[in-house]
């Protein structure tokens, strides 16, 4: 039996069509994922949930939005991993956030978002640390950080040699939240109450009523 006839026995016209359609479908799906990951990492997409606009307010005041060189990192550049599979996985994991947005506390209320912010910050820092600050390193080369002061490079090359960016550079973009080890829920709640002009104890009531 010739090779061609062996092939033609299995790859019938129908199989060929299926392969072509499947391949095209696969390519389109990959392209879709690329586009999807890209689009769902933009500021416009993220802030389409009102609750995320609070995070964006601080971001827009930060150097990652306003850099002298005009380089601008948007939400996904920092919060979504590089590579299509990792990026897609991050978005799949992110569905839990969407779930909470729809079925959880009313994050569109700035008070609720502010009260829950610390836990979000801790989770984000944990993610950065687990990834060894990989998204930071997309743009920043540790050895090449010179800064505007005399010894900034030496600090990064010598003192921070085996450290991950996030170990030092937290509270860089969004509202300042203490490290988990020193975080005091009571003090945080009182601060938020004072900030929004709420009576004492309102924070606990709002958080308890989830």
């Amino acid at each position: 039996m010739s090779k061609a006839s062996w092939l033609s026995q299995y790859i019938t016209r129908h199989v060929l069509f299926a392969l072509i359609i499947g391949s095209c479908g696969g390519i389109l799906f990959i392209l879709f994922l690329i586009e999807f990951d890209q689009y769902t990492g933009t500021e416009a997409f993220c802030t389409s949930c009102h609750s995320m606009s609070f995070a964006a307010e601080d971001y827009r005041q930060s150097a990652h939005f306003n850099s002298v060189s005009g380089v601008r990192a948007s939400c996904g550049d920092c919060h979504v991993s590089e590579g299509i599979f990792a990026a897609t996985l991050d978005h799949v994991m992110g569905v839990s956030d969407l779930w909470k947005q729809i079925f959880g506390p009313d994050y569109d209320d700035p008070v609720i978002t502010a009260l829950h912010l610390p836990e979000a910050a801790f989770a984000a820092r944990e993610w950065f640390l687990r990834k060894d600050s990989a998204t930071c390193r997309r743009c920043h080369e540790q050895e090449a950080i010179h800064g505007s002061r005399l010894h900034t490079n030496a600090i990064h090359v010598e003192d921070a040699k085996n450290k991950s960016c996030i170990e030092c550079h937290y509270n860089l973009v969004h509202r300042k939240v203490p490290d988990q080890k020193t975080f005091k829920r009571d003090a945080w709640n009182r601060m938020i109450e004072e900030e929004f002009g709420l009576e004492a104890g309102a924070a606990e009531r709002l958080m308890g009523g989830e």
């Binding site: 010894h151 003192d159 203490p178 080890k181 020193t182 945080w188 601060m191 004072e194």
Partner: protein
């Protein structure tokens, strides 16, 4: 009454003994060195040598560095502390409070604790609300009042220090850990130099205003003159710094108010040796009331001296139990004992007598009369109760607060110029030239009786009734031929 006096006397002697029996050499740290030398210290230094070299260089020149006390030994904190934060893997706090310093420097800590200096926030509250908040605004209370008296440091819910209350190194600062004071008020960080703290400028950061013109007064005194001339002979870096023994060129603020001299021990309770309260509209000699818990407060002699065991309100507003009372005479004895290291007994006593006489002069001739007149104007409803909403209130304030303070401090520290021209002359100018005319403007015909009762009835003001006594002091003899017209 007699038994109470006897008791006060007994405790007064105990107080004196407390001064005289303690060691004359600066207290050495008794804590075992295993308590310092934190393992994280090297890492701090490595990075901060680059990030903030000044701090590290200063520390490197300190006795702390020499002894192996590093950044972490002072700045380490426990996670549960309200101002604790994570920094490069360590839990630290920015503020090193007296409690932190007191871990090693326990004697200095306990001497400062409860002192009048440590209660500077409570003592400044009345002035703060009027001079700070009313006349100026919150920005001034932050950058002015609180920088000397101390802020009530507020830690925000995100762990940061509220910039309205920090940076601050006021001597009575109320810290996040509840302790009162700031050692760096006098001991500039991070070198903590003995020599720096012993120089008058350590005090002059705050004791330079009209309220407390000590810097200028000292500078223009014989003591200040000798200090400037012989600063190189002051042995300022010496471990032991006892007047007359380790140095003799000149005294500084520290020498008289807190330094070791002869059998008098050094103390970090700076107000302890002051017999007079020189700040009020009328000066009073003051008892020093000591409470069971170590807190102290001044108590004027015109009020009944509290008994041992009595309940009494402390400066922070809490009740306290009186442990003992040091009379002004005892306090004066200790101060005079310092003088005796350089001066004879009669010289020291004569000086103190001159000082007392000038304070009494200010009190009786100007302080008490102006105070009585002001009280009367308020009682008659001729002035509103609110301070500084009428011109006479500024005049009265300047009279005792600015000019009166200069005069009394001048006498206390032997600065003739402050006793005279910045002091009593300015008091007199203010009294005769501004205050009395304002009294007449405010009280109208009623002023005649007021002034007669409180001023003209005193022989010291008799010169006002002798309008024909001409003098060339104004530059030339007046042509006294005209008829004087009475009011």
């Amino acid at each position: 009454m007699e038994s109470r006096l006897g008791f006060t006397c007994l405790w007064g002697w105990a107080f004196l003994l407390l001064f005289l029996s303690a060691p004359v050499v600066a207290e050495k740290v008794k804590l075992d060195p295993s308590n310092w030398g934190h393992s994280g210290g090297d890492e701090c230094v490595s990075c901060h040598k680059k990030a903030s070299a000044g701090v590290v260089t200063e520390w490197q020149q300190s006795a702390h560095a020499e002894a192996g006390v590093n950044c972490m030994d002072c700045h380490q904190a426990k996670s549960e502390e309200i101002d604790a934060f994570e920094h490069e893997g360590q839990i630290i706090a920015t503020i090193v409070s007296p409690t932190d310093c007191g871990r090693c420097h326990d004697r200095e800590f306990s001497e400062h604790k409860g002192s009048v200096h440590s209660e500077a926030v409570a003592l400044g509250n009345a002035d703060r609300s009027v001079l700070g908040d009313n006349l100026a605004g919150p920005a001034l209370t932050t950058s002015g009042c609180d920088q000397c008296h101390g802020s009530v440091v507020k830690v925000k819910g995100d762990g940061t220090l509220d910039p309205a209350t920090w940076p601050n190194s006021g001597i009575g600062r109320i810290n996040p850990d509840g302790s009162k004071g700031s050692c760096s008020a006098c001991h500039g960080r991070h070198r903590f130099s003995k020599a720096q703290a012993r120089q008058p400028i350590a005090c002059a950061r705050c004791h330079a205003s009209p309220k407390s013109p000590d810097q200028a007064v000292f500078d223009s005194s014989k003591h200040g003159m000798a200090y400037q001339a012989h600063i190189g002979d002051m042995n300022l870096d010496s471990d032991s710094w006892s007047a007359g023994k380790d140095y003799s060129a000149a005294p500084t603020c520290v020498t008289c108010h807190m330094g070791a001299a002869g059998k008098v021990a050094a103390t970090h309770d700076v107000g302890m040796r002051s017999a007079w309260g020189l700040y009020g509209p009328v000066s009073e000699r003051q008892h020093l009331v000591m409470f069971e818990d170590g807190d102290k407060r001044e108590w004027p002699v015109s009020a009944d001296a509290p008994k041992r065991g009595a309940e009494m309100q402390k400066l922070d507003g809490n009740p306290g139990t009186v442990k003992f009372v040091a009379t002004p005479d005892r306090r004066r004895q200790v101060m005079s004992a310092v003088c005796r290291e350089c001066h004879s007994k009669s010289f020291a006593n004569g000086f103190m007598d001159q000082f007392d006489q000038l304070v009494e002069l200010f009190n009786t001739k100007f302080g008490a009369p102006s105070q009585a007149i002001m009280q009367s104007l308020y009682q008659q409803g001729l002035l509103t109760p609110a301070p500084f909403d009428e011109p006479i209130e500024f005049i009265y304030w300047d009279l005792w607060h600015e000019h009166g303070a200069a005069a009394r401090h001048g006498a206390a520290m032997a600065s003739p110029d402050h006793s005279a021209f910045a002091g009593m002359y300015a008091v007199a100018r203010s009294f005769y030239g501004e205050f009395l005319p304002q009294v007449r403007a405010v009280a109208g015909v009623g002023a005649v009786d007021l002034i007669q009762q409180h001023v003209l009835s005193q022989p010291a003001h008799n010169w006002l009734g002798q309008p024909d006594q001409a003098s060339a002091v104004l530059g030339s003899l007046p042509d006294a031929t005209g008829e004087r017209r009475d009011e």
